[in-house]
């Protein structure tokens, strides 16, 4: 073992060679980058140079600092990716929201103009309102349906494995595909039923309120199976002896449910409530493919709106990507971020206070 350690923990000539080669390649690439020469090899040089430097450091024969070098090498890939994809864009984005940035360049700082403007835009206020409405409806319905399904799936019926898997299945499929499948159902299948029942082909997607209900139907259909699984896990932690004792004492099933099961799975209820809350806030794919935010509103704050079913996430997307108003969209996104942050902080507060009680 001793020998292996020595070999693996250092090889001076190779280490130095790697370090020197790495630095040379890296610097050459950087020089080429700054000079703006269109040499396509510079990317490869840069990557090879960085790998060389790390490899050289790794082989450096130093027992004292080896652990520290390993720490740096192990942390670097993930932290680097994280910084470039999350931290830098976040800082830039918040900055851009105070400018007239158009996606490529900015000419001046406009202060809070973008923020002030969005609250004078009826279509955006409408989006906020229906998003909150959607979140509330969704939170109640998904949890209710999921909890009832979980009760069903923890009772003693045959084929439980099949039912659980079947109810969970919609959650596997991406929102884009699901949205188009349901668009088909609402515009081609449900219309046949309304034609048979009321003698008129009525598509739920053609009116704003019914289209909104349609989105809720699809989302509950997609999400309830997943939340159900979490409730099942929670219900399974309720000890059998407690339920038996309750049954011996003559508790009715309803009493057992409200006085034993629900209080005992309170932490699960918290988890599921916040899961549905945040996911409903972020809902985008189904919104895009099912209605694309369309729907007319005759008069809202004195304006005629055409974005009747456009939730916040989609509103941000269309403002920036479709209408090309980048800094304005970014300001809306920052507001979206603040709303989600507040929700998350409340969640952490509630969860940690529950833990103290336990």
């Amino acid at each position: 073992m001793e020998k292996e350690y020595k070999i693996s923990n250092g090889n001076k000539p190779v280490s130095l060679l790697c370090l020197v080669a790495g630095v040379v390649l890296f610097v050459t690439a950087l020089v080429m980058d700054f000079m703006g020469t269109g040499n396509t090899l510079r990317g490869a040089f840069l990557v090879l140079g960085a790998v060389g430097i790390f490899f050289g450091l790794f082989l450096l024969p130093t027992e004292k600092h080896h652990r520290r070098i390993i720490n740096v090498i192990f942390l670097f890939p993930l932290l680097f990716a994280f910084a470039v994809t999350v931290i830098i864009p976040l800082v830039l984005g918040i900055g851009y929201s105070f400018t007239d940035w158009d996606g490529i360049r900015m000419t001046k700082i406009v202060g809070f103009e973008n923020y002030a403007k969005m609250f004078t835009q009826p279509s955006f206020i409408w989006s906020i309102l229906i998003t909150f409405l959607f979140v509330v409806f969704n939170m109640i319905l998904v949890n209710l349906v999921a909890f009832l399904l979980a009760l069903l799936c923890t009772s003693k019926i045959k084929g439980l494995g099949f039912f659980r898997a079947a109810y969970f299945l919609p959650n596997l499929i991406g929102g884009i595909v699901l949205g188009y499948i349901w668009q088909f159902i609402f515009s081609n299948v449900v219309t046949k039923w309304t034609a048979a029942l009321f003698n008129s082909q009525y598509s739920m997607l053609s009116d704003t309120p019914t289209a909104f209900i349609a989105i809720i139907i699809v989302y509950v259909w997609q999400y309830a199976g997943y939340i159900m699984l979490i409730y099942i896990t929670g219900l399974n932690t309720v000890p059998g002896e407690v339920l038996e004792a309750a049954a011996i004492d003559g508790a009715t099933p309803l009493q057992t449910l409200f006085n034993i099961k629900i209080p005992m799975i309170a932490p699960t209820v918290t988890i599921c409530t916040f899961l549905t809350l945040t996911s409903a806030f972020k809902m985008f794919d189904v919104n895009l493919s099912l209605t694309n935010g369309t729907g007319s509103v005759a008069d809202f704050l004195g304006s005629y709106l055409t974005n009747g079913t456009e939730m916040l996430a989609l509103n941000i997307y269309s403002t920036a990507v479709v209408e090309n108003k980048y800094s304005f969209g970014e300001a809306k996104a920052v507001l979206f971020f603040i709303i989600l942050a507040i929700v998350s902080i409340i969640q952490v507060r509630i969860t940690s206070s529950k833990e103290v009680e336990l």
Partner: protein, 290 residues
């Protein structure tokens, strides 16, 4: 149990369970049967079996697979490559980072990194997506490796976006691995990198299954990030982007759209049938720990 449930209530529950599963599976049933029809048969009778034939199915699938907006095999291939590469890198780099963070949790830098990771989990994609594109465009131009419309670029982005949750879940697990194990190996002369790859990493298998499922479900189905980074009609396309581009160009041609949906659904359903238990358990663990 002492008390047997009444047979009547069991029957009622079973009937409800069957009815709900019929409702839940009905859309999938519609996709399958209507993929086997021509458009005229779909519009005249979307629920019935009139006009269902294997021949029509093959023809629909052929039309869809070779459609220039869809190019199923290409999109499927890119989706597989991007998902697999992202998952492998997230598991390895995530494990490495989580181990270092966890084993130095008394040090200030480690606490700060961990806190930043956790805090970043509430950041919605919308707030970073616009500057992300411009940053990636500029970085790509600068270093000479295209970061937009390229596989390495999007894998790099998934590494960044998936990192926080991966580290969070792995960290919780590594905490439970006794440190004495590492000390003993260290006294025997085992260097830290070998301690990780030979001792710790193999022990992480169950939790890596969990994060792979969580990240895999998200990356495979993700639409917004690839649509922004790869573009709607770029050379590199994932399945959700291809479906969106395809449907956008074939309004109301339901036999084509539903056949495309069928093609997009089938891979996921096959994976689910094979690894049903792991997927359901992974999703539960992710929710309870996340």
């Amino acid at each position: 149990m002492h008390t047997k449930e009444k047979t009547s209530s069991v029957v009622i529950k079973l009937v409800i369970a069957v009815l709900v599963s019929v409702y839940v599976l009905f859309p999938f049933f519609l996709v399958v049967i209507n993929s086997c029809k021509a458009t005229a048969d779909i519009t005249s009778n979307p629920i019935g079996f009139n006009g269902v034939s294997i021949k029509q199915l093959i023809q629909n699938l052929n039309d869809v697979i070779n459609n220039t907006h869809f190019l199923f095999w290409q999109a499927f291939g890119f989706s597989v490559i991007i998902t697999v590469l992202s998952l492998v890198l997230l598991a390895v780099f995530g494990g490495m980072a989580a181990w270092v963070i966890c084993r130095n949790n008394k040090k200030k830098w480690s606490t700060i990194i961990y806190f930043v990771f956790i805090a970043s989990m509430i950041i919605p994609f919308q707030v970073v997506m616009l500057p992300l594109i411009s940053t990636f465009r500029d970085v790509g131009k600068f270093i000479g490796i295209p970061m937009l419309q390229s596989v390495p670029g999007i894998v790099f982005a998934y590494l960044g976006f998936g990192g926080a949750m991966t580290v969070f879940i792995l960290n919780g697990f590594i905490k439970g691995i006794p440190y004495e194990l590492e000390e003993a190996a260290s006294i025997d002369g085992c260097p830290p990198e070998q301690i990780f790859f030979r001792i710790i990493f193999p022990l992480l298998t169950p939790v890596i299954t969990t994060i792979t499922i969580l990240n895999g479900m998200w990356i495979w189905n993700d639409y917004l990030l690839p649509s922004m980074m790869l573009g709607q009609n770029g050379a590199v396309k994932t399945l959700p982007v291809a479906v969106q581009a395809f449907v956008g160009s074939y309004v109301k041609q339901w036999n084509m759209i539903l056949s495309a949906a069928l093609l997009a659904i089938v891979p996921m359903v096959i994976v689910f049938l094979v690894a049903q238990k792991q997927i359901m358990n992974g999703m539960i663990e992710g929710a309870v720990k996340g």
